[in-house]
Symmetry: C2
Subunit: 323 residues, 2 copies
């Protein structure tokens, strides 16, 4: 039997999805047809949580990190996010922390290719041709993705979800990861010590590295200066991986063409930050791949079934490695 606390900005939406799925499920009920999961607390306010009685927590990691120290009876926390730095850095490590995985790839691939294709097809120029006072029937320049090389920094489940799409567009994929281990579908996987060679081999680059101590400022002068004048750089991993000044300096010199940024050192991105006003920077609001209540409920229930059977949980995070 699981007594569940939900602490999230979307707590009630998640609870609703869980109630629906539990009612429909045959496997999550006991001998008397009683649900094996009881939703005990549902709140978006950390202060509301009866911390002493929390054993299983389904939570946004930023909210959970505020009260996690007081949850002395906690055995398992299922996070609602992909990136879990707030909990991985919170100090407490005597419980099982599981991330939200396998649900972001399908959204991330649409984000990444929306912006790669916007650039490749020069849709803004065609939009200007159309909206001009005298509309212009004109072939503005384009540069196909077909035949180009996409570099992916961080080839976890989200990064790997981009590979089949890149291949379908006739692109070659290369990667950069901490281990440099081969990944199916990637021609070559570099390590951070070869970052310049990696960067020079790419037409476009997507960063999807999580926020760990070793990825801080990983993408700095050496990386940006080796890009190409037509290159698009997309950051949908974590803001801390990018040296903002190095990015802007390279962009201002025309070293690469355009930056698409979804994540930042400080979020929301302060309105005074140069990124907002730079003509060659696209800013989105950490919206590339957002957790959906339905996905959160599904992953939690999948793990809850394993928990009830005393099986190892999926998507466990390692406090030592930091991801």
């Amino acid at each position: 039997m699981i007594k569940l606390t939900i602490l999230s900005d979307e707590a009630s939406e998640i609870a609703e999805e869980l109630h629906k799925s539990i009612a429909e499920s045959n496997t999550l009920k006991g001998t008397n047809n009683q649900p094996l999961i009881a939703i005990d607390q549902v709140t978006s306010q950390p202060d509301d949580v009866d911390t002493e009685n929390v054993s299983v927590l389904l939570s946004d990691p930023d909210l959970a990190s505020i009260i996690i120290d007081k949850c002395s009876a906690l055995t398992w926390c299922q996070s609602t996010w992909a990136g879990n730095a707030p909990l991985l850095n919170a100090g407490k490590t005597d419980y099982i922390l599981t991330g939200l995985k396998g649900v972001f790839g399908k959204l991330m691939r649409e984000y990444v290719f929306a912006y790669l294709l916007q650039h490749a097809r020069n849709t803004k120029a065609f939009e200007e041709n159309q909206r001009a006072t005298a509309p212009r029937w004109q072939a503005s320049p384009r540069l196909p993705l077909n035949g180009q090389t996409l570099g992916i920094v961080g080839l976890g489940s989200i990064g790997q979800a981009l590979i089949p799409v890149a291949h379908a567009f006739g692109m070659t994929v290369i990667g950069l990861t901490r281990s440099g281990n081969q990944v199916e579908g990637a021609e070559c996987v570099y390590t951070p010590s070869d970052i310049k060679a990696f960067s020079s081999a790419c037409d476009h680059v997507v960063n999807l590295m999580p926020d760990t101590p070793t990825t801080q400022n990983l993408l700095s002068d050496e990386f940006f200066n080796a890009l190409k004048p037509h290159s698009v750089f997309i950051n949908a991993g974590r803001g801390s991986a990018v040296d903002d000044d190095a990015l802007l300096n390279a962009l201002d010199r025309g070293t690469f063409a355009h930056a698409v940024l979804d994540v930042f050192r400080h979020e929301p991105l302060p309105s005074s930050h140069r990124f907002w006003r730079h003509p060659n920077v696209t800013v989105t609001a950490h919206t590339a791949a957002e957790s959906q209540p339905g996905d959160i409920a599904r992953v939690f229930l999948e793990n809850a079934a394993r928990y009830l059977e005393h099986l190892p949980l999926k998507y466990q995070l390692d406090f030592a490695k930091g991801y």
Copy 2:
């Protein structure tokens, strides 16, 4: 031995590509290492062509149609376009006409998904958030392609090139063709008599039908009225397939969301046409998949090698069928 006339807006670029490839090729030379292809005339002006001496013509079909009747010695014309209505309707049929195929799919898939993803990811709203006087950190609504159904009208080589990309994005593909014959990767293929059932089953639709008498106004009220409020319609086939008024009426009533139009009944699209100014219409300049001189040269030389060996040519067009 082939004596070649090139008549095209890009005649000199095509000639240059041919010279380069012929110089590098071993198979296009005879016993004395003499090229088996001699480029005789290179022009963009139909009046310049010495019509009596044309035997093999590599030409834009609109230009060729002006002089084709006078080319009494013509045996083969390789077109530089995918759509060949000007020559198919010109009256003369006593020669072999080959189209340009197998080169447009790679460009078309980028055009189609650039605009499907622009809509799915609502990139214009995020652009407005960024460019506002006070930039807005805001999650504007999006609707993923994942799980949606893409309808393709016309499943020739170009239409089929969209299928692997649609699948990579987690979409289902259905088709509409004259024959209704099964096509690999399409769940279901409808015929024009079932156009309403086809249209109702689609989230988004791309038209790639060629211009033939049977496709005139194929996409009219019945088709547009069965689309969904979130549907995007893309026309990159031929303008004559679309009933412009039916499209605009459906759009104005909110029957579907957005039209992306690359082809029109009259090109360039007259500046007075409502399409240019409609907020839910994107106009591009028949630029979705343009013939590239390198691709034209490659397809011509592939067929020239077959011509010299007296083998059947590839991509032959049928004057009776009209495609």
